[in-house]
C-alpha cells in the first residue's frame, strides 16, 4: 500500500475516535466522555499489538479439524446430559439449559428456511407464538391429553405456515422479509388486543405441564423431555438436509433460475421449506408453553425473531451445527452477564457487531476457513 493512503486512513481513524467521544458527550457528560476518549486512544495506538493477539487466538483454533469438532459437539452435549443428574441440583442452570435446547430447535428450524433455502424470514417468532398459544388455549380450554394437544398445536402452526407461505412466496428477497415481518407484527398486535381469547397483554397462565405416563412438573424432568425432543429434532433436520429435498433447497438458494432449469419445482420446495420450518417453531412453542406454564405476547416480539435469526447467522448460515452453537452462545451470553444487568444488552449488541465483522462466515464457517488455508499452505 502506498504511504500517502496509509497515513490518510490513520488520520481518518483518529478522527473517528475523536468523533465517537464527542457524539456521546450529550448523553454521558464531559467527564465520562473524556475518560472514553482516553480509553479509545489507548486502544487506537495499541491496535497493532491487539491485532497480533487476536490472530494468535484465531490460530489456536486451527488445530481442530471440522469433523473432530462435530464430534466434540456430540461429546459435550452428551456429557452435559449425563452430568446434570449427578451434579448438585440447580434449578437455575437447568432452566437455562432447557431454554437453550428450545432455542436450538428454533434456530435449526429457522436455518432450514433462511440458511438452506435462502428465504429471509423476519417473523419466525410469530410461528413460535402460534405453537405456544395453540397449546396453551387447547390445554386450558379442552381436556385433550398432552400428546394430542401437542400434535394438534404443531399441525395448526404448520397449517398457518402453509397459508402464509402461499401468498408470501410470490415475493422475492427483501420483500418476502418485510411481509414476514409484517405478519409477525400483526400477530403480536392481535395477541395483545383479542382480550376474550388471549387475555391480551396479561397472557395466559395455568397451562398444565406435559403428561406422558408421568407428570413433567419437575424442572429436571422437563429438561430430559426437552433434551430428547431436541436431539430427535436435530437428527431429523440433519437427515432431511442430506436428502433430495435438502439438495433441492440448496440449489434454490444458490440460484433460483438454475434450479428451475434443472427441473426443480421451486415453488413446491419453497413451500415445503416454509412449512417444515414452521413445524419446528410450533414444536418449540409447545415445549416453551408447557415448561413455563404461562405465555404472553411479550415473549414473541420482533426482537425474538431477530434473536433467532442472529443465532443462525452467528453460528454460520446454512449449517445446522452452527445454528446449535449460535443458540447456545446467544442464550448463554446474556445469562452470564446477568450480574451486570444494566450493561447486558449493550454488550450483546456490541458482540453481535464484532462477531459478524471478525467472523463474517459465522463461527463454523470461519473455523472451516482457517483449516482450509492451513491445509493448503
Amino acid at each position: 500500500m502506498n504511504n500517502y493512503i496509509q497515513s490518510n486512513t490513520h488520520l481518518i481513524r483518529l478522527f473517528n475516535v475523536l468523533l465517537i467521544s464527542i457524539l456521546v458527550l450529550p448523553f454521558i457528560g464531559l467527564q465520562h466522555s473524556a475518560t472514553l476518549l482516553v480509553v479509545l486512544l489507548v486502544v487506537f495506538f495499541l491496535k497493532d499489538y491487539l491485532k497480533v493477539f487476536f490472530s494468535s487466538l484465531a490460530l489456536s483454533f486451527s488445530g481442530y479439524s471440522f469433523s473432530r469438532y462435530k464430534k466434540a459437539i456430540l461429546v459435550v452435549s452428551s456429557v452435559i446430559i449425563l452430568i446434570i443428574p449427578i451434579m448438585p441440583y440447580s434449578q437455575y442452570a437447568t432452566d437455562v439449559i432447557t431454554l437453550c435446547l428450545i432455542y436450538v430447535i428454533l434456530a435449526c428450524g429457522l436455518n432450514v428456511i433462511v440458511g438452506m433455502t435462502g428465504l429471509l424470514h423476519l417473523g419466525y417468532a410469530a410461528f413460535y407464538a402460534i405453537g405456544a398459544y395453540s397449546y396453551a388455549l387447547l390445554s386450558i380450554n379442552t381436556g385433550i391429553p398432552f400428546l394430542a394437544t401437542a400434535v394438534l398445536s404443531i399441525v395448526i402452526t404448520s397449517f398457518i405456515g402453509l397459508m402464509t407461505a402461499f401468498p408470501a412466496l410470490r415475493l422475492k428477497g427483501d420483500y418476502l422479509a418485510i411481509v414476514t415481518l409484517g405478519f409477525g407484527e400483526i400477530l403480536r398486535v392481535i395477541l395483545n388486543n383479542w382480550q376474550s381469547l388471549t387475555n391480551g397483554p396479561n397472557g395466559l397462565s395455568g397451562i398444565p405441564a406435559p403428561h406422558v405416563f408421568v407428570d413433567f412438573t419437575d424442572a429436571r424432568m422437563m429438561f430430559y423431555l426437552t433434551a430428547v425432543v431436541c436431539f430427535v429434532s436435530v437428527f431429523i433436520i440433519l437427515r432431511v438436509e442430506r436428502s433430495k429435498i435438502g439438495r433441492a433447497w440448496r440449489c434454490i438458494k444458490e440460484d433460483e433460475t438454475v434450479a428451475l432449469a434443472m427441473g426443480i419445482d421451486v415453488v413446491r420446495y419453497k413451500l415445503i421449506s416454509f412449512v417444515f420450518g414452521s413445524f419446528w417453531a410450533g414444536l418449540a412453542g409447545v415445549l416453551y408453553a408447557s415448561k413455563m406454564g404461562f405465555v404472553s405476547p411479550d415473549s414473541f416480539t420482533f426482537l425474538e425473531s431477530i434473536l433467532i435469526l442472529c443465532m443462525v447467522i452467528v453460528g454460520g448460515l446454512g449449517n445446522t451445527y452452527g445454528a446449535i452453537i449460535g443458540a447456545f452462545i446467544l442464550i448463554c451470553i446474556p445469562e452470564i452477564l446477568r450480574d451486570i444487568q444494566t450493561f447486558r444488552m449493550l454488550i450483546v449488541g456490541l458482540v453481535l457487531v464484532l462477531l459478524v465483522i471478525f467472523l463474517p462466515k459465522g463461527i463454523v464457517g470461519s473455523i472451516k476457513d482457517v483449516n482450509h488455508t492451513n491445509s493448503k499452505s
Binding site: L23, L181, E185, I306, V356, I357
Partner: protein, 300 residues
C-alpha cells in the same frame, strides 16, 4: 372531523416519510435494510431534549426562545449526521463484501446497542418536554392546526423539495444515482464510492433527526424504544412506495400516516399498528415492487 384527521395523518405521515427516505436511499445504494436507522430518529429526539434543557439551564431559552430552538435543531442535525457517518464507518464498511445477511446482523447489533446505550445513560422512563412558546394553534376554516403541526408540515415539505432538487439537479446528486445503478462503473468514472455512501448515510441520518426533534416537541415525550416502532413503520412506508425510490418513500410515508390516523379514528385505535402492515401486504401482493418501484428483472 374528517379533514382534521387527514391533517393529523399528514403530520404523522410526513414524519414517516422523513425517516423512510433514509431507508430507501441506503437500500438504493447498498441493497440492505439499515435496521439501525430508527435509532437515529430516537437519538435525534433525545438530543433535541438534551440540548434544549441545556439552553434552558444557561438561560438562553428565556432570553430568546426562537434562537435556542433553532440552535437545538442545528446541533441535533449535526450530531445525528455524525452518528450516521460513524455507524456506516464502524458497522457496515468492514462488511461491504461480506455475505448479504452480515450487515443486517451488524445493523441489528448497532440498534440494540444504541437503544440500550440511551436507556443506560438517560434512564428507562419517559422523558417529557414542553415548549410553551409552541403551544398555540391557528384555525383555518374550522380546522385546528397546532403551531407544531404547521412546523412539521412546512419543514418536511421544504426538506423533501430540497432533497429532490439535490438528488436530481446537482452533480453530487447525479453521482449518487449513478452509484446506485452501477457501483463499479461509478468508480471507473472517478466517483469516490465510499464518499457517496458516507454521504447517503449522513443525509439519511440528518432527515431522521429532523423528524426526531419535531416529534419530541409534538408528542412532548420520548423514550428509548420509540425508534424501533417508528423505524419499522418507516421502512414499511419505503417498501410501500417502492424501495430505492425517493418519491416512493415520500408518498409511502404519507399514505401510511393517513391510513393509520383514519384507522385509529374510525375503526379501532387498539389495532393502530396493524393497519400499516395490512396495507403493505395488500400492496405487495398486488404490485410486488411497491407503488413506484422499478421492476428489476433477473439477469439470466
Amino acid at each position: 372531523m374528517f379533514i382534521q384527521q387527514i391533517i393529523n395523518g399528514l403530520t404523522l405521515g410526513s414524519v414517516y416519510s422523513l425517516i423512510a427516505l433514509g431507508y430507501t436511499m441506503v437500500y438504493g445504494i447498498l441493497e440492505f435494510i439499515n435496521f439501525a436507522h430508527g435509532e437515529i430518529y430516537m437519538i435525534g429526539a433525545y438530543l433535541g431534549i438534551i440540548f434544549l434543557t441545556f439552553f434552558t439551564a444557561v438561560g438562553l431559552t428565556t432570553s430568546n426562545i426562537y434562537l435556542s430552538l433553532f440552535l437545538t435543531m442545528i446541533l441535533t442535525i449535526a450530531f445525528c449526521c455524525a452518528y450516521g457517518y460513524l455507524i456506516e464507518r464502524v458497522g457496515y464498511r468492514p462488511l461491504r463484501y461480506a455475505p448479504r445477511l452480515s450487515p443486517l446482523i451488524s445493523a441489528i447489533g448497532i440498534s440494540i446497542f444504541l437503544q440500550n446505550f440511551v436507556m443506560f445513560t438517560q434512564g428507562a422512563t419517559d422523558k417529557v418536554i414542553r415548549v410553551e412558546a409552541l403551544d398555540g394553534f391557528v384555525s383555518v376554516w374550522g380546522i385546528n392546526l397546532s403551531y407544531l403541526q404547521v412546523a412539521i408540515l412546512t419543514v418536511s415539505f421544504v426538506v423533501m423539495i430540497g432533497l429532490n432538487l439535490f438528488v436530481n439537479k446537482t452533480k453530487i446528486g447525479t453521482a449518487m444515482r449513478a452509484t446506485a445503478q452501477d457501483k463499479i462503473m461509478a468508480s471507473l468514472v472517478g466517483i469516490d464510492i465510499n464518499m457517496i455512501i458516507s454521504l447517503v448515510f449522513v443525509v439519511g441520518a440528518g432527515l431522521a433527526s429532523v423528524a426526531g426533534v419535531m416529534v419530541a416537541g409534538y408528542y412532548g415525550l420520548v423514550n428509548y424504544h420509540i425508534g424501533y416502532i417508528a423505524g419499522l413503520k418507516a421502512f414499511t412506508a419505503a417498501v410501500l412506495g417502492g424501495i430505492g425510490s425517493i418519491q416512493g418513500a415520500m408518498i409511502g410515508g404519507l399514505i401510511l400516516g393517513i391510513v393509520e390516523t383514519l384507522g385509529s379514528a374510525y375503526v379501532s385505535s387498539d389495532y393502530k399498528d396493524v393497519y400499516a402492515f395490512l396495507i403493505l401486504i395488500v400492496v405487495l401482493l398486488i404490485k410486488p415492487t411497491g407503488l413506484l418501484g422499478q421492476r428489476i428483472e433477473d439477469k439470466i
